[in-house]
Symmetry: none
Subunit: 418 residues, 2 copies
């Protein structure tokens, strides 16, 4: 069934959309906040204004009772079915390091680590941060059997590895023991189709380690009493999917403003342009105002902007409700300029999943969501929070419905029938 997307003439003409994802935003009532959630306790005059002018609700990113990962959550929020396009985190991380991943590639998240006498003594090679380009260079042009390998370093000890060639599959376990003082885990194929992949991966890691041992950077690190980066720990194997581009799917040019590699990676695989012209870190501390300025700049050039803020999630994982509240205070101040974009721009704010402080991890609790702009029927909710939005006019929606609803509200219509 082909649905025609067209734009209204006149009303809503030229409207654009911005989707703000506050990572791990959702939370549970916290004792330290007198029974409020960090979002409910935070000073959120901007978000409350947007809620008051807009329509709100509860957003279940992947579905009711499902706890999303950050990667699958963002795929769903961009309108893709994560059960179809996701096999592992590798391709999204790799894509976020600017490694040009192609459909069919098997990609891995990789750590540069320190191994001694067969034992991993540091999973992050002493948090190596400089000179890793030498490693990247030394590991180029390694071909094993008929499989090409591509290795790209990211920030600090992080890197991405891609295997490209015929007969590969993603059903292989990684070698990361997750704790120090242990041997690397054996790489095992969990399906017969992945046997070749496991064999090549093992040989690659052996070969890479031999090369890394000989590098000048490690000679220098050892002389400075630092741990050498002489081993690769891989995990998160995934096959890069065929993904219809955001522009082709929705007819909108799109840009991404994010700090974290994973988010840039997902956006990039979905065909969004990455705007790196800001000082956001993908962590805390970060420069929120510079990200908001970048998002506004992106919005001048493109029709759709995805703005990602990571810190809320980190503070949930660390069980720091007061700091999470204070970080939301900061976000609220930083996004105040968005009020000037109303009503010509549809602003949507939500999260990718809840990360309740008490849980120190993701949960399946839904996220509050708001949409504000010209074409919206405002509801009676006047405060942005987990509980106030339970009475919102959007009701309960799935993550994959967010973009279609936004499209309708900016007058870019999927009309089915006549």
């Amino acid at each position: 069934m082909v649905v025609k997307i067209y734009k209204f003439k006149g009303f809503l003409e030229g409207m654009k959309g911005i989707l703000v994802i506050l990572d791990g935003l959702g939370d549970l009532p916290c004792k330290q906040l007198k029974g409020k959630t960090p979002l409910e306790a935070a000073k959120t005059s901007t978000m409350d204004k947007l809620a008051q002018m807009g329509i709100t609700g509860q957003q279940h990113t992947i579905g009711r009772g499902i706890t999303p990962g950050s990667d699958t959550a963002h795929l769903a929020l961009f309108g893709y079915n994560p059960y179809e396009v996701y096999t592992g985190r590798g391709p999204y991380e790799a894509s976020g390091t600017d490694l040009p991943v192609k459909p069919g590639d098997i990609a891995f998240r990789t750590n540069m680590a320190t191994i001694k006498d067969g034992i991993i003594v540091d999973r992050r090679a002493g948090r190596i941060s400089k000179g890793t380009e030498e490693i990247e260079k030394a590991l180029q042009n390694i071909t094993i059997e008929d499989v090409e390998t591509i290795f790209k370093v990211g920030i600090d000890h992080r890197a991405a590895l891609v295997l490209r060639g015929p007969g590969l599959a993603s059903e292989v376990t990684g070698n990361d023991p997750k704790v120090e003082g242990k041997r690397p885990k054996s790489i095992i194929s969990t399906s017969p189709e992945a046997e070749k992949t496991a064999r090549i991966l093992k040989q690659y890691i052996r070969q890479a380690s031999e090369i890394m041992e000989t590098l000048k950077i490690n000679e220098k690190r050892i002389s400075e009493d630092k741990l050498p980066a002489n081993y690769l720990l891989v995990r998160g194997a995934g096959k890069a999917p065929h993904v219809e581009s955001f522009q082709s799917k929705y007819g909108l040019t799109a840009e991404c403003v994010a700090g974290g590699g994973l988010y840039k990676g997902v956006a990039s695989i979905c065909g969004m342009k990455i705007n790196n012209d800001h000082q956001g870190t993908g962590g805390i501390p970060t420069d929120l105002p510079s990200k908001v300025r970048a998002a506004i700049k992106s919005l001048e050039r493109s029709q759709f902007v995805f703005l990602h803020v990571k810190g809320t999630d980190n503070l949930g994982h660390d069980n720091k409700p007061i700091q999470k509240m204070e970080f939301i205070d900061e976000i609220d101040i930083a996004i105040e300029p968005f009020l000037d974009l109303i009503p010509e721009t549809l602003i949507c704010i939500t999260g990718d999943h809840s990360t309740p402080c008490m849980m120190r991890d993701h949960s399946s609790d839904p996220l509050p969501i708001l949409m504000t702009g010209e074409g919206v029927r405002p509801d009676q909710v006047t405060e942005f929070g987990e509980r106030p939005t339970m009475r919102g006019g959007l009701g309960h929606i799935d993550g994959q419905q967010v973009i279609p609803i936004m499209l309708g509200l900016i007058g870019r219509v999927h009309k089915f029938g006549a």
Copy 2:
């Protein structure tokens, strides 16, 4: 999956249902109405009483973020999956002109038009309104290859064309240039399966035009300085689907009271009986009280009645919020007799899609819906409108759920399991 339909003994025994569809009912806040929607601003004491006694909610006809056409919307509201039974508008329009469409037929919406020197000078043949029976008669019994053609005139310049035979498909473009002063468009098959259909359609149009040129009605029109009806413009090709009848699907005899051909057509293809014993026009002005009387009459004979009112949609397309509000005032007065049917009859009022005045077209915004009758749990909503029903007890439902919910509320139960 077989579900058994049975009736309760006693409570709800013999309850009937009426589904009132106000076309294009949903709207957005309008400046001319001080930020209210036409429905919210209208004087709706009947609908408000029904809302107060009943249960309300938000209805997404085809799904979240999807903008329905009128044809697909009504299929969904009758409980059919439009993605399965809809290939184009033709069969529904044809069926609405009393042309007995059979599954597999390829049907087209057709205009009688005026062509001169290969140019369409009037798409409606001077809005021809009389004497078209001669054209209908002259175009009978045309067989091309092994394909039978059936041509039936409707109101004014409107007609329907059906091709019936082996090897036909609906993937053909129409020849309507949509504007005057241009040549008819070429008829093209957009799939290999439809090549035969395109070939036959082209030949039919040529042959029909030659016949039409010779008719007395056109001789007369020319002598009166009127434009002759000497050409057929076809569009909306669709293959008539196999549709399980409403009665077989739900175990209820059903009647339709509507003015517009399309709505009668959809109802007819779904096996409803058409009650034409009223003065409704399918437009404005119309005779609403006569339609309401007809619906009450239908309800005496049948267990389920579908009442359609079109004008709300027209006024949305024309961006006339005040007139839309006033027309809703009129509807509210006209349906007052329905209050006497409570509680023995379940009354459901909703729309097929929103047609916000500001948009002058359909949108994906949900519709308010109410259901009132004996077996209902009333919620706290006391006013029928886009925003009051956001807090309704039905929550957010899909169009395809409307009839199943109504069936449950009149005690005709789809029991699954034992």
